[in-house]
């Protein structure tokens, strides 16, 4: 660990200004490991000296912010939400007459989440072809998502083997997602601090494991913008350890087994 306190603080401030993501004390290892490849490429002796050099080089700030705002992703993360999607949420909306589903996967990283949503529909509702908007702050991640190509390590994480053989093709060292799934997802650059992306009103929004990085005020802002982009009877999925309770009372929480899902409370969509 080479990162000194004030180098860490500099990076944390930079990241917070550009993305509102909070890097608290305790995340030093994350910063060190995420910046190590950049430091190596720049020929710096270590991460700390790389960061020091950054203070005077604004052109490198984007790279640093990108390196620190990407998430660890797996396919079908936590499994249960995707089960709830096909056992409860989609059938209910279909029951209300929905056929053209508009779905937003926010902070989609390298695409595992939106593609997992597409595969869930393909497995259980093949006649419905949802339109999935996948957004992220990182152009690097969006490009990865658009390419739909994954390493063996990435493919091992959470992807059921029957779906691997059905929806992917191995070419050399990587696995490519099949065009029929890939074509359902549209990747767009988007910052959650801005108004919601086009493509709504959304029937289903996945906003998983990104609110954790924000302070309470920002969480409220983000949730408000999300709510405004949704159909009044649409559903919001958060990360397994996240909730709107105590943050934003304009959502109704519905428990399905171990999973919580959220819906705009009636009469409070604005």
């Amino acid at each position: 660990m080479t990162l000194t306190d004030d180098a860490f603080d500099f990076v944390a401030t930079l990241v917070r200004q550009r993305s509102a993501i909070q890097l608290e004390r305790g995340k030093e290892y994350l910063v060190e490991s995420r910046l190590a490849p950049l430091a190596r490429t720049a020929g710096a002796t270590d991460v700390d000296s790389y960061v020091r050099a950054l203070r005077n080089d604004v052109t490198k700030h984007d790279l640093v912010v990108e390196a620190l705002t990407t998430n660890e992703t797996s396919w079908f993360r936590d499994a249960n939400p995707f089960a709830v999607l096909h056992t409860t949420v989609v059938p209910e909306l279909v029951g209300r007459g929905r056929r053209d589903f508009r779905i937003w996967s926010a902070a989609c990283s390298s695409g595992q989440e939106p593609y997992s949503i597409a595969m869930t529909f393909s497995e259980h509702f093949p006649a419905l072809r949802p339109q999935i908007i996948a957004t992220d702050l990182s152009e690097l991640m969006l490009d990865r998502g658009r390419a739909g190509e994954y390493t063996q390590l990435e493919i091992n994480r959470g992807l059921p083997a029957p779906m691997l053989v059905k929806y992917f093709e191995r070419t050399g060292a990587t696995f490519q997602i099949t065009p029929s799934i890939r074509n359902q997802v549209h990747f767009r650059h988007h910052n959650l601090l801005e108004p919601a992306p086009l493509g709504g009103p959304f029937d289903i929004v996945f906003l998983r494991n990104v609110l954790i990085y924000f302070d309470v005020e920002t969480k409220r802002d983000v949730l408000r913008r999300v709510r405004m982009s949704m159909a009044p009877d649409g559903y919001l999925f958060l990360g397994a350890a996240e909730t709107t309770i105590g943050v934003d009372e304009t959502w109704e929480r519905i428990q399905v087994g171990n999973t919580s899902i959220y819906r705009p409370r009636e009469g409070k969509t604005r």
Partner: protein
Amino acid sequence: MKALVIDDSRVMRKIVGGILVDAGFEVVEAADGQEALDQMTLNDDITLCCIDWNMPVMSGFEFVVEVRKHVQWRDVTLMMITTEGEQGQIVRALAAGAHEYVIKPFTPEVILDKLQFLGLVEMKETV
């Protein structure tokens, strides 16, 4: 819950076994497909098998084929854990009746993710 770990490498049996014990399983081991069949007969409460492919005496693939012939083992989850990573091999294993497939090398999360998807464990999310 009881799991059977099948691999000719003691190192691998220890690594996989450790992950399963942490997930709440009781673990029994076998070093090849034949020993594994013996364990299946001796223990009627095995719910999960983690199976290497390339082993002496009887391969993991042959074990899968054999298990799927027996109606009393119909509900046992069969997960391959192997270096065999070509698409064709994965297709073969699933067609023979394996439910899941892990390509070596792997982290504990890889196995745990798959067990969760199969409903064999419930995970607490850590943020």
